[in-house]
């Protein structure tokens, strides 16, 4: 079933020069017996098995320090597991060559828990950066950036710098950047963490819309209301282990 690493430029994406890791299977994330022990001896993720398929919308929940961010960081290789196997879209990350890591990352839209905006670039430039690495023409970049800015309702702040924005606004810039490439999978680490309920729902609408268009969405969250009001698959972490994985699950933790 599993084939060795293949990098193909799939049709339709050719003009965007998006190299896609492509196997033909619908499994986007596959973790087998994965453990991550940090240098300081803390085992943040302990022997987990997680499978996420194309088109799914998944909440990752669990108390603070449960290992949610660590789980997410291993998908785009900010961290490497200390044991076990990870396949992204069928590609064995152990076999992924260093020079192909950027290609992997371009195919995963990540909304970082700490936003990771470039402080010296404006909102526009921060989002445009993800397209500049693809050498997109200027007018295409401009058009697409304003599209996503519209989506996260930040069109009027395009010229602002990150430090001139509120936490929620920075978070939305981070979301816009993650979506700009139309990646097959979007992984958001607490995308509503700094937002008021109304804006949070606005973000949820955006995520559900892109999910409806075929993008797989994985979202770590502490937002009990969202999980319970808009039920979807829930993967629950506790002390580095997956304690629950159910379709249409509930939040079931006190914050």
């Amino acid at each position: 079933m599993r084939v060795t690493l293949k990098i193909v430029t799939i049709q339709g994406m050719r003009e965007r020069k998006m190299h896609v890791f492509f196997e033909g299977s619908d499994r986007l994330i596959e973790m087998r017996d994965v453990t991550k022990t940090y240098g300081n001896g803390i085992t943040a993720v302990n022997n987990i098995n997680v499978f996420i398929d194309k088109g799914e919308f998944v909440y990752v929940v669990g108390p603070s320090g449960a290992g949610k961010s660590t789980f997410i960081k291993m998908t785009y290789l900010e961290e490497r597991p200390t044991a076990g196997k990870i396949y992204m879209n069928g590609t064995d990350l152990d076999e992924l060559k260093r020079k192909h890591i950027p290609l992997l990352r371009r195919n995963i839209g990540v909304v970082f828990q700490d936003f990771k905006l470039l402080p010296k670039l404006s909102v526009f430039e921060n989002i445009a950066f993800a397209l500049e690495v693809l050498e997109e023409p200027r007018h295409v970049i401009k058009k697409r950036v304003f599209e996503v800015l519209d989506l996260v309702r930040l069109k009027n702040k395009a010229r602002f710098y990150p430090q001139e924005l509120s936490g929620g606004e920075q978070q939305r810039v981070s979301i816009a950047r993650a979506m700009i490439n139309h990646p097959p999978i979007l992984i958001a680490d607490e995308p509503t963490g700094n937002l008021d309920p109304q804006t949070s729902w606005g973000i949820m609408d955006v995520l559900q819309e892109i999910n409806a268009r075929g993008t797989t969405v994985v979202m770590a969250t502490h937002n009990k209301e969202i999980v319970n009001v808009s039920p979807k698959r829930v993967i629950a972490f506790e002390g580095g282990r997956v304690t629950r994985d159910e379709q249409r699950g509930r939040y079931a933790y006190e914050k």
């Binding site: 785009y76 950027p102 990352r105 990540v110 970082f112 990771k116 010296k120 690495v133």
Partner: protein, 298 residues
């Protein structure tokens, strides 16, 4: 890479120079000082080589023939010397000619004194032997010494040995200093840029996490290093060219040191300018790329 991307990298690199104004200034100063010294050394070495080869070219072996040697003996000796491999030319100077030359060389008072000696000329007839390479002088002289009908053979042993020792030492010391300075400047640049990079470490990490390749991140640094190196070369190049032209004018035209033959400034200064620009660019780029290297492992 598309030209648009190259433009982006260039702009980015130049922006970084501006943003890190003081650090850039420090890097440029380091390169300037290094290239200044390298320039001065290159001029010195070029001139020492020039003078040394001048003097070396003057080296000759004087074979003083026995007073008692007959014409046939002299002819035999000539053939023998001529048969030695590395002999380039032999000139025969008889004792009267020798005295004439000698009298010409000394000042007038002594000239008169020696003129009065003409009847008791103390000089020998001499074969003046030139070798193909100045370095061969000693060997050839040694061979000649074995032949018959010779009074003495002299070739300024001490001068030659000292000259070679001194010029070689200056060349080696000069080259070592130039190399040493180059590396010092490289590390200075690497370190100054590294200081600015530590601040940019997070940015590099973010760029990588968003999908930038190492090459994409490196390019602006390449441009930055190149520009810093080239900026650092401006002052030394100007100083070497104008300074050496001025010095040459002073020494040659004004005849302050007319007996020393120094290398004319054209094309020497322009060759050195090209070398300095090259070294500046190399040091800048190398230093800059060195400093990003370890931050790319994300």
């Amino acid at each position: 890479m598309k030209s648009r991307t190259l433009l982006r990298h260039s702009k980015e690199g130049l922006k970084n120079i501006g943003r890190n104004g003081w650090m850039s200034f420090a890097s440029v100063s380091a390169v300037t000082i290094m290239l200044m010294v390298v320039g001065i050394f290159l001029i010195l070495i070029a001139n020492i080589n020039h003078i040394a080869s001048d003097v070396e070219g003057d080296v000759e072996i004087r074979v003083h023939i026995d007073m008692t040697a007959s014409e046939e003996d002299k002819e035999g000796l000539y053939e023998q010397i001529d048969a030695i491999d590395n002999v380039a030319a032999i000139t025969y100077v008889d004792r009267d000619e020798g005295l004439d030359q000698f009298i010409e060389d000394v000042d007038e008072g002594s000239a008169e004194l020696f003129e009065s000696l003409r009847n008791e000329n103390p000089l020998n007839d001499v074969f003046v032997v030139e070798t193909k390479e100045p370095q061969l002088t000693e060997d050839v002289a040694g061979e000649i010494e074995q032949f018959a009908n010779i009074d003495t053979v002299d070739y300024g042993e001490d001068i030659i040995e000292q000259l070679f020792a001194v010029t070689n030492m200056i060349r080696i010391v000069g080259a070592a200093l130039v190399l040493g300075l180059m590396f010092t400047a490289m590390f200075l640049i690497a370190n100054t840029i590294k200081l600015t990079i530590v601040a940019r470490k997070n940015e590099i990490q973010i760029m990588k996490l968003v999908g930038a390749t190492n090459g994409f991140i490196r390019w602006p640094f390449f441009v930055e290093g190149l520009v810093l190196g080239l900026l650092g070369a401006i002052l030394p190049v100007a100083a070497v060219i104008s300074g050496y032209y001025y010095l040459y004018d002073l020494l040659v035209t004004e005849a302050i040191l007319s007996f020393v033959d120094i290398v004319p400034p054209n094309p020497l200064t322009f060759e050195i300018a090209a070398i300095l620009i090259g070294i500046g660019a190399l040091v800048g780029v190398w230093g800059s790329l060195m400093s990003v290297r370890k931050f790319l492992r994300v």
